[in-house]
């Protein structure tokens, strides 16, 4: 055996990729022969025969490069061909299709060469295995029906659809790996220049994917889906030892859609500024308040809503079936309409990531209205029918090596009453005052989300930039270590207004999708502490890089014998780290509390006298950077127990007097 393989990398991709479908007659012959043989003769005595079978064959060529601080760590190239059989026994009204969507990987690698012998052999094995599993699943499904009966929401397992055919020779697009590398450098270089950045891990990847769908019903569809990605996550430690990160990503389906080097260089500099701001941002206890979500965060919410409108979810006995039987009901504000349109190629000149012509069951993509003026009108449907809808609407999509299910293509959320940004902020403050809340939330720049259950059910956690908006003054202030939490439906129901600023957000959570949404104003949203644990800063300062920045991370002096935590009340927030770099200051943080903004500072010295000197220096430094006056309150006396607790306890005296 071989040790688990690690990371990875690469060679330049061949300028011309493998031949296209038209050049691979052996693969076509192998598929036809084995599908034919399976349909006509693959049958076990005493078990039902195959009534429908679809083979999906994915050809992929991947190139990936992983870097840290603009220096490549690993690179890889891979070619693979994955095949998956969807074999059905029984009949369209009831077959072996799973009642709860399966998220498991079922693909099998088959020969990448156009070799009929090897390919037929592989397909023979795959179809044999799929047929045996199908008969067993069919019998088990019948067994459940025998004891529980048919649910009233059950419908056909495979809707009737006309056979489609669309095949063509593959014409590769001209991607340049060197260009992708340059883009990565442009993005990463600014982060490398900031010595306090611990990591700036980036990934550029290019997947060239061709998908062949072939079925016993005459189905013959070829699809091409190229996909370039640029991703980066930068990490630094905050002044109180929490790991803070910022991230961005870009997706492109064709070379022309890639961002420019200048654009990425700007983005890199913005990330540095963002991270610098985040490191010294205030913390606060979680609370709930009216919230303004920018288009990216709204996109995350809309996508979760879209997933819960999947046809499969309405029939999933293990899921929430949130919208089953609610056609025509009002589910969100009547000013809002939600449409999914996989045919739309672009929005305001920008290409859409979720477009396609045929879905992964070969059904032509169709535009579908999901919610019209707040009323539920439809679902994202595959051929797994939903009561009230006899046919697919072309939304069956499969991640590599998986069985397809209804998921979003390009979601569009529109409002009949768009508001300007200023109007939304005014509404936010007004709503805060109405609810008696001192601050509203402004949630921006989604960097990720997680969900407790799949399929759009369960609570969702949106990781994004959080700002507080003062209801009284309108002043905006950044806070950190907080995430937005809630259930998608409750959050969507609480939308009270939308912006006039629709933007595109991309995701590949299940399959490539775009979400076009404006900013959304919610009457209430809840914050939760992030999952970050305090860690000690490195003992030594970072090694020198090309662009040193003095004093960004102070070297640790002698370890102090005595430590205390002091609290200073501030008139204003401050941003500069270097300004607080007083000898004896071990760590600090700003906190937004009910009575205003405060700084908690851990200060120490080797002896009582040294500690008192340090305290004076720190007080002076705080006074210098936080104009408007400083009030100081000692929380922990200079006794050994207090010092020990302050020095070694994970965090900060949250339970201490405020």
């Amino acid at each position: 055996m071989i040790p688990a393989s690690l990371a990875i990398v690469l060679l330049a991709l061949p300028a011309v990729a493998a031949p296209g479908p038209a050049d691979e007659p052996a693969l076509e012959r192998a598929i036809a022969a084995e599908l034919g043989r399976a349909k006509s003769s693959l049958r076990e005595e005493g078990y039902p025969p195959i009534y429908f079978a679809q083979l999906t064959v994915w050809d992929l060529e991947d190139w990936d490069q992983w870097s840290d601080l603009a220096a490549p760590r690993a690179e890889s190239t891979m070619r693979q061909r994955i095949a998956l059989a969807d074999v059905r026994v029984g009949g369209p009204a009831l077959d072996n299709h799973p009642v709860s969507p399966r998220g498991d990987y079922l693909g099998t690698p088959v020969s990448i060469a156009d070799d009929e012998f090897a390919l037929r052999h592989a397909l023979w094995r795959i179809l044999d295995g799929a047929y045996k599993t199908a008969t067993a699943d069919f019998l088990r499904k019948q067994a459940v029906l025998v004891s529980r009966g048919r649910a009233d929401y059950d419908a056909d397992d495979l809707s009737a659809e006309p056979a489609t055919a669309s095949t063509a020779a593959w014409s590769p697009r001209a991607w340049s790996v060197d260009r992708l590398r340059r883009l990565d450098d442009a993005l990463s270089d600014p982060l490398r220049a900031a010595p306090w950045v611990l990591h700036a891990e980036s990934h550029v990847g290019l997947r060239r994917l061709r998908t062949r769908l072939r079925g016993t019903s005459g189905l013959a569809i070829d699809k091409t889906d190229d996909w370039a990605r640029i991703e980066i996550e930068a990490v630094a430690l905050s002044s109180d030892g929490l790991r803070e990160s910022v991230s961005r990503d870009w997706h492109a389906r064709e070379p022309e859609a890639l961002p420019s080097e200048a654009e990425l260089g700007r983005a890199g500099r913005e990330l540095v500024d963002d991270l610098a701001e985040l490191r010294v941002a205030a913390t606060t206890s979680p609370f709930s308040a009216p919230a303004l979500l920018d288009a990216s965060v709204a996109g995350g919410l809309v996508y979760a809503l879209g997933q819960s409108l999947s046809g499969e979810e309405q029939r999933n006995p293990g899921g929430a079936q949130t919208f089953r039987g609610r056609l025509g009901d009002r589910i969100i504000s009547e000013t809002l309409t939600l449409v999914d349109d996989p045919i739309a190629a672009s929005f305001r000149g920008r290409p859409l990531f979720g477009r396609y012509e045929f879905d992964d069951q070969g059904v032509p993509a169709r535009r579908v209205t999901l919610i019209e003026k707040g009323l539920l009108r439809g679902f994202l449907l595959s051929r797994y029918a939903v009561k009230g809808f006899a046919h697919s609407n072309g939304h069956a999509r499969a991640p590599l090596g998986q069985i397809p299910l209804g998921v979003p293509g390009n979601l569009f959320l529109t409002s009949s009453e768009p508001h300007s940004r200023d109007a939304l902020v005014a509404l936010l403050r007004e709503e805060c005052r109405r609810q008696g809340k001192p601050y509203g939330l402004w949630i921006r720049r989604l960097r990720g989300w997680s969900q407790q259950q799949s399929g759009g059910q369960g609570s969702i956690r949106l990781l994004a930039e959080v700002r507080l908006v003062s209801a009284a003054t309108g002043r905006v202030e950044r806070v950190r270590d907080l995430d937005l939490v809630g259930t998608p439906l409750v959050m969507a129901e609480s939308v009270m207004a939308a912006g006039d600023d629709p933007e595109i957000a991309d995701t590949d959570a299940v399959a490539p999708s775009s979400i076009v949404s404006p900013s959304l104003l919610l009457t209430e949203a809840e914050l939760q502490r992030s999952e970050t644990k305090p860690e000690k800063a490195p003992v030594l300062p970072p090694p020198p890089r090309d662009v040193p920045e003095a004093g960004a991370v102070p070297a640790r002096a002698e370890e102090p014998a005595l430590v205390e935590v002091d609290r200073y009340r501030l008139a204003a927030r401050f941003d500069a780290i270097a300004a607080l770099d007083a000898e004896g200051l071990l760590a600090w943080r700003q906190t937004r509390t009910a009575e205003g903004l405060v700084i908690d500072a851990k200060v120490g010295g080797a002896t009582g006298e040294r500690a008192r000197e340090a305290l004076r220096r720190v007080a002076a430094a705080v006074a210098a950077v936080a104009r408007g006056g400083v009030r100081r309150a000692i929380l922990f006396p200079l006794d050994s127990a207090g010092a020990y607790r302050a020095r070694y306890d994970d965090g900060w005296p949250d339970s201490g007097p405020r």
């Binding site: 003769s41 490549p72 088959v110 044999d128 003992v539 030594l540 370890e559």
Partner: protein, 552 residues
């Protein structure tokens, strides 16, 4: 057709990124290390007394082919940085048998390399100080009767060997995998078959605070050629067979025709196995062929002679106090020799010049004339053996421990193989047994080394023949593996043949990861072995015939 059998010309192409100049890499590692040694201290704790940095820089190519056509084609280029810190002193530091250093994927850019080792060192140092405190806390309650040092003193070594630039003949390797895998096209009864060709260019940097500076090929990763095949008997029993071709580099690989013959041998064996009767559990005398004997010694003896296991009271410590005493029949001797490069013209997988701690490889006598003489030593001392003997091995992410390399079993008074077979029949007739066994080849084995588990080891033979006591006739059987306990089974060895042979291409896994090893051993006659049934794994064979043998 993909079965273009061979590339007409060997055309090496460049392979991954250009290697960073060694001087830049050493410069970055040394700068970070000296800064850490001088200034790294936390609270009242001083700097580490020892630091080691390892950096593996690799290019890897792997192609898998089946039935004459490539299945995957994969190239990667990566590095692994590893740092280890020891806090305390040689007599008592933070390490114990579960100690691991810290590692991360790393760039080669000297500035970012420093950044990487800065953070790794910080992490390793904090871990070392807290590990030392925890170990000391444990000692507050635990009675240690014979304290042993934690780290042996060794001289620093320096050697910088520049490797040739990475070059890859991708077309040739892919053609080789396809050509060898095509052999199975003639075997419709074999359901799955793969040929994997893996090529490596890998170098290792090692820098320690004692002054060791090494740049060597990373011998942990020899090139490899593996053949594996699986089928089902008519009764649904899963059957598998494999072949590991002994090679260190493809430049030295045997001629294609010879390899094809070997692959055909695997296919023929598997087809024969399908028709073989199922063997019930049995205890009987047996002959183990050289490969099977080698793997048995690896499991039953080798792992138990790993030095650090003698330090830990949770380990079985079967041989700890038996130095100078007989542990094997007097005609057997065992050595482990990483300096041996080849055997009868075949390169050995377990060879290296410096181990993972930078100690020069050394030949070590483990058992001489049945008497236990030594252990496989890393820099972890044990009672009576204060120094390493160059067997501290690890994979790229793990802390080195004493491991096997090339394990060599030899016998006095060896007899020709035919004589050994005659003695087997004689034993059977004398004991009134109806049959004995011949075990051929091995696909590996397992054995527990801690006290909580019964010391039952198992070794899976590739082929088992039942030998009839009366006629001497051999019948291929299937469905069993060898089980036993180490002291008993080794002491039932009654004779050896003079047919010493190499079993290569094995990867051995233990606490310090997977490392390549080889065994050289003769056929052995064992007065009694126990065969146990394999776990049941039966599924319905394919319903339709193989497409290539179906007239439709």
């Amino acid at each position: 057709m993909a079965l273009a059998l061979a590339a007409p010309f060997a055309r090496a192409e460049s392979w991954g990124s250009a290697p960073a100049p060694a001087a830049d890499v050493f410069g970055a590692l040394e700068a970070e290390m000296s800064r850490s040694l001088a200034r790294l201290h936390e609270d009242s704790f001083g700097p580490p007394y020892f630091l080691a940095y390892r950096l593996h820089d690799a290019r890897h190519y792997e192609v898998v082919a089946t039935l004459g056509a490539a299945l995957t084609d994969y190239v990667e280029d990566y590095r692994i940085a590893y740092a280890e810190a020891r806090y305390g002193d040689r007599t008592f530091d933070n390490t114990d048998l579960s100690y691991q250093g810290v590692n991360t994927p790393s760039p080669m850019d000297p500035q970012v390399l420093r950044q990487t080792f800065w953070l790794l060192t910080d992490q390793a140092y904090k871990g070392a100080v807290s590990g030392w405190l925890e170990k000391k806390a444990k000692r507050a309650t635990e009675l240690v009767t014979e304290p042993i040092d934690d780290f042996s003193a060794e001289p620093a070594v320096q050697k910088k060997e520049e490797l040739p630039k990475p070059a890859l003949d991708r077309a040739r390797l892919r053609a080789l995998a396809e050509r060898l895998s095509a052999v199975f096209r003639g075997y419709p009864d074999i359901h799955e078959s793969n040929v994997t060709v893996g090529a490596w260019w890998a170098r290792r940097f090692l820098v320690t605070s004692e002054g060791t500076r090494l740049l060597t090929p990373a011998e942990e990763m020899p090139d490899e050629l593996r053949v594996s095949a699986v089928t089902r008997a008519e009764d649904g029993m899963r059957l598998e067979d494999d072949l590991l071709v002994p090679l260190r580099a493809f430049a030295e690989s045997p001629p294609d025709a010879e390899l094809e013959r070997a692959v055909r041998g695997v296919a023929d064996e598997l087809v024969a196995l399908r028709r073989a009767p199922v063997q019930e559990a049995a205890a009987a005398p047996a002959i183990l062929d050289p490969e099977m004997s080698g793997v048995l010694f690896h499991e039953a003896l080798g792992h138990k002679l790993e030095g650090q296991r003698q330090r830990d009271s949770h380990e079985s410590q079967v041989f700890r106090d038996l130095v100078g005493k007989p542990i094997l029949p007097a005609f057997l001797s065992v050595i482990d020799d990483p300096t041996l490069k080849s055997f009868k013209g075949s390169p050995l997988h377990g060879s290296y010049e410096f181990d993972s701690e930078g100690s020069p490889a050394r030949r070590v006598a483990l058992v001489e004339g049945g008497i236990l003489r030594g252990f496989l030593m890393s820099r972890w001392p044990i009672k009576g053996f204060p120094d390493t003997n160059g067997h501290g091995r690890a994979d790229w992410r793990s802390h080195p421990t004493g491991r096997m390399s090339n394990l060599i079993v030899s016998a006095e008074g060896a007899v020709p193989r035919a004589e050994l077979e005659r003695r087997l029949l004689e034993t059977l007739r004398r004991d009134g047994k109806p049959y004995g066994f011949l075990l051929v080849g091995s696909s590996g084995g397992e054995n527990p080394t801690n006290r909580e588990s019964p010391q039952t080891l198992e070794v899976r033979p590739r082929l088992v023949y039942r030998v009839d006591a009366k006629t001497g006739k051999r019948t291929l059987v299937r469905g069993v593996k060898l089980v036993g306990t180490p002291l008993v089974i080794l002491n039932r060895i009654v004779a050896a043949a003079d047919d010493d042979a190499l079993a290569n291409g094995f990867h051995c896994g233990a606490e310090s990861g997977w490392v390549p090893v080889s065994q050289i051993a003769p056929s052995l006659l064992v007065s009694e072995i126990e065969l146990q049934r394999l776990p049941e794994d039966r599924v319905l064979p394919p319903l339709l015939p193989s497409p290539l043998h179906d007239p439709r």
